[in-house]
Amino acid sequence: MALVEIRNVYKSFKREAQTVDVYSGLSMDFEEGSYTALMGPSGSGKSTLLNLIAGLDKPTSGTVRVEGSEVSSMTSAQLAPWRARTIGFVFQSYNLLPVLTAHQNVELPLLLTNLGKKERAERTEIALGVVGLADRMDHFPRQLSGGQEQRVAIARAIVADPTLILLDEPTGQLDSKSSEEVLELLRRLNDEFHKTIMIVTHDAKAADRAKAVLHLEKGVLLERSQLSGAGVAT
């Protein structure tokens, strides 16, 4: 069974008086340990796909399953703890809480677990160590560079050891050097820590690092570039 199963998903939005169809019967699977880049022009439904998988949005019809649980039929009360356990989300604009230190930002998802204070601190330090920012723990976001902020955001996404890491344009606001650092980090998370990663990107370099690249256009899977070790099937 695939880690993520998308079956016959229809999704439409109401925009003013018009209904815009994003997907009309989309089906695809993502295997555990896969590293997939989703590419396509704006409005092609890339981010919507991440939102559906994370349970932030619901399909008009069809099902989205993650680890066998049907995300699309969960209530919001069920979704919050499920998301805390299962999903690590990274945004284009980092979205760190500006008034919290790097350590406090990374610790946030652990506050939703039953871990004690000491254990939380240890895991936070490990996560910050993995992203190479162990020495920036007490810095506030404004004291960090864009690349460092995004690495803190990645530490926050992995600290609770989620099954799936979803990244929406993670290198969109970074210079090439910082992008490179972030992409290298994602490769390590996939190779060394066997994390399942899905990245929405416009950046061809970012897509090149993924093991599989999917192109979406108007909600339709146009082509599939299967690279070595990919675990994507449609």
Partner: protein
């Protein structure tokens, strides 16, 4: 499932101007709230402290105030023979048949029309033993048979000719002020005391207004009351002195409290709108942060609680400001007319720890009310749109 409190604390400091203005608005409401209740408290305390639970006040049956009471001289000996009255070291009953009259005397700095009603109480020589809260702070007790008076400490500074050694003229007679006394801040401090026999002759013929006495057995009030009511020779009601004066404070005390709550409630509406505005602005400027918290898996109720807590913190700061603004009025003496005696009673504003706690609680309630709708909006944010 709690969003760390430090997030809200630090967020509050990110908007110092709007936070300070909101807190100040709430602070002013709390200051008025505390000040007005301190006024009511002071008034009630002054009258409540006037009476003692060990003392009994006998009034004419049916009278609800000393002013409307009358007990004939013949009744005094009957009352004095009661076994329920404690006796002094000299073997005489600890009782004080009293005259009670309202006189008007001119205020300091006022013109000829600036007069105020003041209680002139004629007492027996035992009155100073019956009322244990009386302390002579200057001079000596008046001498029997002389036109001498003692004045309550709160009259000094507000009326002319009330210092020891002065001569105060009222009821066409000159009275020499021979002492000044305190009475634990009670309404006795707003009275003029002289010998009952002297006052009776000048004011009210052969009638006393009340008899105050000390109970022989402090627990024997009900028994004493029954005995006095059963005595066919007397037409008197027995009141526990502490209850009598406390009852006198009820009407005005309640009105003052009602006014305090009504006025501050109206003001609170304005302050709550200030809090609503500030919190809506906070939610609006932190939309992406809230969306992140929801995305991380914090349930909407945690977001609601978090923003409510933030609003409560701002309001609590306002509450502290309000309490600090109101504190200096503690002890300030003011006066009003006691509606039970139509005479002026001076009393001090009483800002108590309980009142300050009530002020802080009121502030937090304003914060919670003002923060509720913005916090609810935060908890219901559509995450996807908020993340864009």
């Amino acid at each position: 499932m709690k969003i760390p409190f430090v997030y809200n604390l630090r967020s509050v400091t990110q908007r110092p101007v709007s936070t300070a203005l909101t807190a100040l608005g709430i602070g002013l409401v709390v200051a008025v709230f505390v000040a007005m209740l301190a006024l009511a408290n002071g008034f009630i305390a002054a009258l409540t402290k006037t009476g003692s639970a060990d003392n009994v006040l006998l009034l004419r049956r049916g009278s609800d105030s000393e002013l409307s009471s009358g007990i004939p001289r013949e009744a005094i000996n009957i009352i004095g023979a009661s076994p329920h009255i404690a006796t002094g070291a000299d073997g005489r009953p600890l009782m004080s048949p009293e005259t009670y009259i309202v006189i008007n005397i001119p205020r300091i700095g006022g013109d000829a029309f600036a007069v105020a009603n003041v209680v002139a109480r004629g007492v027996s020589d035992k009155a100073f033993e019956v009322r244990r809260n009386i302390k002579i702070i200057e001079g000596r007790r008046f001498t029997s048979g002389q036109s001498e008076i003692c004045v309550g400490a709160k009259l000094a500074g507000r009326f002319n000719n009330v210092n020891v050694g002065d001569v105060l003229r009222f009821s066409n007679r000159d009275w020499k002020v021979v002492c000044r006394f305190t009475a634990d801040g009670s309404s006795f401090e707003s009275e003029i005391w002289g010998e009952n026999e002297q006052f009776q002759g000048v004011f009210r013929g052969n009638v006393f207004q009340d008899v105050a006495f000390r109970l022989k057995d402090p627990a024997g009030f009900e028994e004493a009351k029954r005995a006095f009511l059963a005595d066919q020779r007397l037409q008197v009601d027995a009141h526990r002195e502490s209850d009598f004066y406390a009852d006198q404070s009820q009407l005005l005390g309640n009105i003052l409290r009602f006014l305090a709550i009504m006025i501050t409630s109206i003001m609170a509406v304005g302050a709550v709108f200030g809090a609503v505005n500030t919190m809506y602005a906070a939610v609006s400027s932190r939309t992406p942060e809230i969306a992140v918290l929801l995305t991380l898996g914090f349930p909407p109720r945690s977001v609601l609680a978090s923003f409510l807590a933030e609003s409560a913190v701002i309001a609590f700061i306002g509450g502290i400001i309000g309490c600090l603004l109101a504190l200096p009025i503690n002890g300030v003496v003011t006066s009003t007319t006691n509606w039970a005696s139509f005479s002026e009673i001076a009393f001090a504003f009483r800002v108590t720890p309980q009142l300050l706690a009530a002020g802080l609680l009121f502030a937090v309630v304003m914060g919670l009310v003002g923060g509720f709708f913005p916090a609810r909006r935060a908890s219901r944010l559509p995450v996807i749109e908020a993340l864009r």
